[in-house]
Amino acid sequence: MEFKDYYEIMGVARDASPDEIKRAYRRLARKYHPDVSKEKDAEARFKEVGEAYEVLRDPEKRAAYDQLGRRPQGEDFQPPPNWNFEFEGEDRGGGHSDFFEQLFGGLGGLRGRAGRGGFRSRGFDTHAQVDVTLEEAFHGATRTLSLQRVELDKDGKPRPRVQQLQVKIPAGVVDGQQIRVPAQGEAGAGGGPGDLFLQLRLLPHRWFRVEGRDVWLDLPITPWEAALGETVRVPTLAGRVDLKIPKGSQTDRQLRLKERGLPGSPPGDQFVVLKVVVPAADSAAREALYKQMAAAMAMNPRAAMEG
C-alpha cells in the first residue's frame, strides 16, 4: 500500500490552518472538478484531492493522520499494529484509495446514505467517464469496465474486489450523454445497490467535428471543381459517398448530406464545408497559366470593401 501525502496533494504546509486548507480545496476543486475541468486526469486528481480534504478538514482524522509522521508520497506503507480509528460523521462517498480505506475503515459505500431529502437508504451511485471514438458512437460498442467493489467478507470486514462488467454502448450516443447501468453502483445498507452512471466523452476525430448529432466535414476541393462543378468522393461515418459540388461554388459553401450524421430520432445530418485549395505557382508554366487567368478573368473580390 502506498503512503499518501495529503498535505502535498493539497499543496499546503503541514501547519496550515483550517481556512488555508479550505481555500486550497476550493482552488483545486475549481481546477479539477470533473464538471468544470478540461484537464485530462481531472477525475483521478479530484478524487485524490477530495480524499485529502476529507482527512485534513476533520480535526480528528487530521490528528490521527499526523501521528503517522511524514513519509515520502508513494512509499510502501502499513498502518501501525495498534492502529484503531473509529470515525463518525459524514461520509463523502466511495472511491477512496487503499491507503484511506486501511486507515479510516472506509466502509464507504457499505454504509447507507441519508442523501438529499433524507429518505435514501440504498447504496451510492457511482460515476465514471468513458471515452468513445466517433466511429464507436456511430456503430455502437461494447466496453469492459473494471469496477472497484468493497464487500464484506464472512467476518464482516470490508474487502476490496475488482469486478469486470461488460457494457454495451448503443449506437448514436452524443458527447456528455450518460448511460445508466441500474443497480451496478455500490452496495447499500438496505434498499439495494446504487446505480452506475457512465458519462460518455466523444474523442476528437481527424476530419469530423460533431455538434449534437450533426457531423461537420471540411472538404478540400480544387478551383476547377468549385468553378465547373464535379462529383467527388466524400467520407461519411457509414463509408464514402458521391457528392455533387454545384457549379460556381466558393469556399465555405455548405452542403448537407441528409441523415448521414449520428443515428437517432431524428438522425443527424452531415454538413460538408467546401474549402478551395489553390495550386502553387511553382513552375514557369504554372505561373504563365495564372497570369493568363489574371488577364482573361479579371475580378476584384474586395470591391465591397472599397470606395
Binding site: D35, R120, V167, Q177, Q178, I179
Partner: protein
Amino acid sequence: MTEPIRVDLLDETVEFSLEDLCRICGVHERLVVDIVEEGVIEPRGAVGAWRFTGVAVTRVQRVLRLQEEFEVNLAGAALALELLEEIERLRRGGR
C-alpha cells in the same frame, strides 16, 4: 465473462415521471420542483403529470454536484452549468 449488461441510454427519447427522476437522482420532489423553477430542466406535460427526458437526469445531477461541491446556491449552480455547457459547445467547434 457474461453477456453485456442491460443499460439505459439517458437521451431525449426516454421519458421519466417525476417519481422516476427523483428515484434515479436520489432527490426529493421539492428539489426537482426548485430546479424546474430555476429553468435548468423543462418538464413536458401538465403539472401533476410531468415527464422528463433522460437528459434531465444528467442536468439535475450536474447542477446538484456544482451546488454541493462549490457551496453555491441553486441559481449560481444553474448559471455555472449553462456557462459550462456553452464552453463545451464552443470548444467542440460548435456554432
